[in-house]
């Protein structure tokens, strides 16, 4: 126990990475190198760099050659507030580029207690297995009896088999087994690592689950300094208005915000507002379905919901959530305003192990194609696949999981659907990952963030909201122009987005949740909590030398490595553009009515972004000088 944790690190890191070859069953422990930790910190830093190093160009994501990486950060397992996040990464079968996903809960700290900072899996097992990791030891065990089971059943069976209620499980469901391209992983039956199809990669490897349990200490190099930094960090959260909002309504608080700004991508981005949105607001879900406010490990924000449908046709349904993204993908996009159907659909996605965002987007796209006559009733299994049809939504979620009937095509996501049906225009994605969060037609900086994200469209890869609250003098000091504080101007916004991407990578490296880490509408607070205090906690925990400037550059380094991965796969400037619909069609309603993206404006934004990043404007490739300055590769 205690002895196993002896490593070259004074704290934070377990000091070991577990390598598993599923083809021949070999398992190897390798030491974590100090230099690697200093440059890539952990989590997404480790996973992105390992993928870059170990994968060959054009590797088939569902082949044994792909890697599945499960990585914790140095702060996981310590009492750092909200240090609960896990990264699961691989080359994505949905997008064909770098894929990673992030899940909260308890798995990531437990991985550290079990003695490892990360697990790298390769190969393909000849029969179903699961990986059991306990206190520095690991073994592959048969998962034949688990195959076919949904997430909750799998968790139950594993706990029974291992005789321990306190194990932590990262599992895939039937969708992963059936290689649905956006099958997700679910930790402990609650925390979805939704995006990019990591569950399908597990399925392709015949790996049903990874189970961890441990009793090892996560060391803290300087406890006194650590406590002071953590207390200061906590104080910044206690005073934050966002903390209260997230506690009360969870991420579903954003429903009202989306309606107010008119930035829903409702009806597959044919509407910007929703009639009857009050029925699916955070308040409505709280009132009707909330059982309890929950939190991930060590979290003081506690945005997690536990909800139940106790009456009606879907009773009883007990599930974690819904999140804002559940409501957006399973409500707004297919235009369903019955909250019970949304909650039920969310529950089914979690049980089958499907990313609800891509599932909702794919079904919404099919609804539009059906309404436009591009898909016939025969093609969609005789279902009246129109917007607002909740039964159709539930019907096809199950069919996607088992790739039955039309579900087989839906299971490939919007990009492939668009190609097969010659209907690219209605596939609203960037690099194969569907646009989530909001419709950016009236907000070009958001469009840029979604379009340049290194895992395909993603609102969490940047923080394009800084211009909503930064003061002119702060804008001048940080981005060289006061214009960044002007919402109407696009000057300096490329630079702002680039900065925010590097900065927002940091919590993904540390294992910290961004909801605790970046929620503030004060720019000095973003710097104080997000860089200064985070760096202070990192240094106190690990004993490693680091300044806040160096930490920021770690974020930039990781972002560049991810970009290199995608460049190696052949992606250039032209793939850093938002979907065509956002340039062609105006927002049809709401406060932003009449807005659409303008090509020239976007070109300029992208130019400025590339310049701020030190990437070649013509191709979007990082220049040798940039890479040299960052010490990459």
């Amino acid at each position: 126990m205690g002895k196993e944790t002896m490593s070259i690190f004074a704290g934070g890191y377990a000091g070991k990475i577990l390598y598993v070859n599923l083809t021949d069953g070999s398992i190897e422990k390798r030491p974590l190198e100090r230099d690697f930790a200093l440059k890539y910190i952990g989590g997404r830093g480790f996973s992105s760099r390992i993928l870059w190093d170990e994968l060959e160009t054009k590797t088939d994501p569902l082949s044994p050659d792909n890697r599945l990486i499960i990585a914790a950060g140095p702060l996981n397992g310590t009492p750092t507030p909200s240090a609960s996040r896990l990264v699961v990464a691989a080359k994505s079968p949905l997008t064909g580029i770098l894929g990673d996903t992030n899940s909260g809960g308890y798995f990531s700290p437990e991985l550290k207690y079990s003695g490892f900072d990360a697990i790298v899996l390769r190969g393909r097992s000849s029969s179903p297995v699961y990986l059991w990791v306990r206190d520095g030891k690991a073994e592959l065990r048969s998962a034949k009896h688990l195959w076919g089971h949904k997430i909750s059943e799998t968790n139950h069976l594993l706990k029974e088999e291992l005789g321990d209620e306190d194990i932590h499980i990262c599992a895939m469901g039937p969708a992963g087994e059936n290689l649905v391209r956006y099958a997700c992983v679910i930790t402990d039956g609650e925390g979805a690592g939704g995006r990019c199809g990591m569950g399908a990669v597990m399925g392709s490897k015949n790996l049903k689950a990874v189970v961890v349990r441990g009793s090892q200490d996560v060391g803290i190099a300087d406890p006194k300094r650590f406590k002071e930094a953590v207390d200061a960090y906590r104080q910044t959260l206690e005073g934050e208005v966002w903390t209260d909002v997230l506690r009360r309504l969870g991420t579903a608080n954003l429903v009202a915000h989306r309606q107010k700004l008119g930035i829903w991508g409702a009806k597959n981005f044919q509407r910007a507002t929703i009639e009857g949105w009050e029925k699916i607001s955070g308040e409505a879900f709280r009132e009707r379905f909330l059982v309890k406010v929950m939190g991930c490990m060590g979290c003081m924000v506690r945005c997690r919901r536990y909800s139940a449908i106790k009456e009606g046709p879907f009773a009883p349904t007990y599930t974690k959530g819904p999140e804002y993204e559940s409501i957006n993908s399973l409500g707004a996009k297919p235009y369903i305003t019955d909250p019970a159907i949304i909650l039920r659909a969310h529950y089914l996605c979690d049980e089958y192990g499907i990313d609800e965002q891509t599932a909702g987007s794919s079904i919404a796209m099919a609804m539009e194609l059906y309404e436009r006559g591009i898909l016939t009733k025969e093609q969609v299994d005789g279902v009246e696949l129109v917007f607002g049809n909740g039964e159709a939504l539930l019907h096809f979620i199950e069919k996607i999981a088992y790739r039955r009937g039309f579900g087989d095509l839906l299971a490939d996501g919007t990009k492939i659907m668009g190609e097969r049906l010659k209907a690219d225009y209605y596939a609203i994605h960037v690099k194969g990952l569907e646009v989530d969060a909001s419709d950016p037609r009236s907000l070009p900086t958001r469009a840029l963030t979604y379009a340049v994200s290194t895992r395909g469209s993603c609102h969490l890869r940047g923080f394009p909201y800084i211009d909503e609250f930064i003061k002119p003098e702060e804008a001048k000091a940080y981005f060289g122009t006061e214009a960044v504080s002007n919402l109407e101007s696009l000057e300096g916004k490329g630079k702002m987005v680039a900065w925010s991407e590097n900065w927002v990578t940091i919590p993904n490296l540390m294992g910290v949740c961004i909801f605790a880490w970046n929620r503030s509408r004060s720019f000095p607070m973003l710097i104080r909590r997000g860089l200064e205090l985070m760096n202070e906690i990192f240094v106190a925990t690990t004993g490693l030398p680091m300044t806040k400037e160096e930490l920021y550059h770690c974020g930039e380094r990781v972002y560049n490595v991810e970009k290199l991965f995608n460049v190696r796969e052949g992606f250039r400037r032209e793939s850093d553009y938002p979907p065509l619909r956002f340039f062609e069609e105006e927002l049809p309603d709401g406060p932003g009515k009449g807005s659409k993206l303008k090509r020239e404006e976007y070109d300029q934004l992208l130019d400025e972004y590339y310049e701020a990043r030190g990437w070649d404007k013509k191709t979007g490739i990082p220049t040798p000088a940039t890479l040299k300055a960052l010490g990459v590769p």
Binding site: T78, P79, D217, A308
Partner: protein
């Protein structure tokens, strides 16, 4: 958070397995924190063969003299609530010591559901609640 901060306070590490307070998940959203009840007649104290578990009269609590503990786990066996454990690393009895009167689990509880309170005061609080209930009943009739 209570488990994490407990282990940090006592051992300066991150490891909830070494905490003296545990949150027990009962399913369907029910999580109940459990820790030492500081019994007036503690079975752990009575059964300890070496005197490692002793009552510190200055604070009125049962505490552990680690040097005396032989790790026999008799205290673990007799504790009616499971609040005494053997520390995972040191192998000796571990139980809540209320952090010298300032329990860190209470200080750091994000939901503010953990409180340190005296049994007498708590009974008074219950009585007050009950009195309010009676008042409502009387009012309705």
């Amino acid at each position: 958070m209570c488990e994490l901060i407990c282990a940090f306070h006592h051992h300066q590490v991150g490891n909830p397995g070494r905490a003296c307070i545990r949150v027990i998940a009962l399913g369907q959203g029910e999580d109940i924190p459990v820790t030492c009840l500081n019994c007036e007649k503690p079975p752990c104290l009575d059964i300890c063969p070496t005197g490692a578990l002793h009552r510190d009269e200055s604070v009125g609590m049962v505490l552990v003299k680690k040097d005396f503990c032989i790790g026999c786990a008799m205290c673990v066996n007799v504790c009616p609530v499971g609040a005494v454990t053997l520390d995972l690393v040191e192998g000796v009895a571990a139980k809540c010591d209320l952090c010298e009167g300032d329990p860190q689990c209470v200080a750091y509880c994000p939901a503010k559901v953990l409180k340190l309170t005296d049994a007498g005061q708590f009974a008074k609080y219950r009585m007050k609640e009950f009195a309010k209930f009676l008042k409502c009943q009387v009012g309705e009739n």
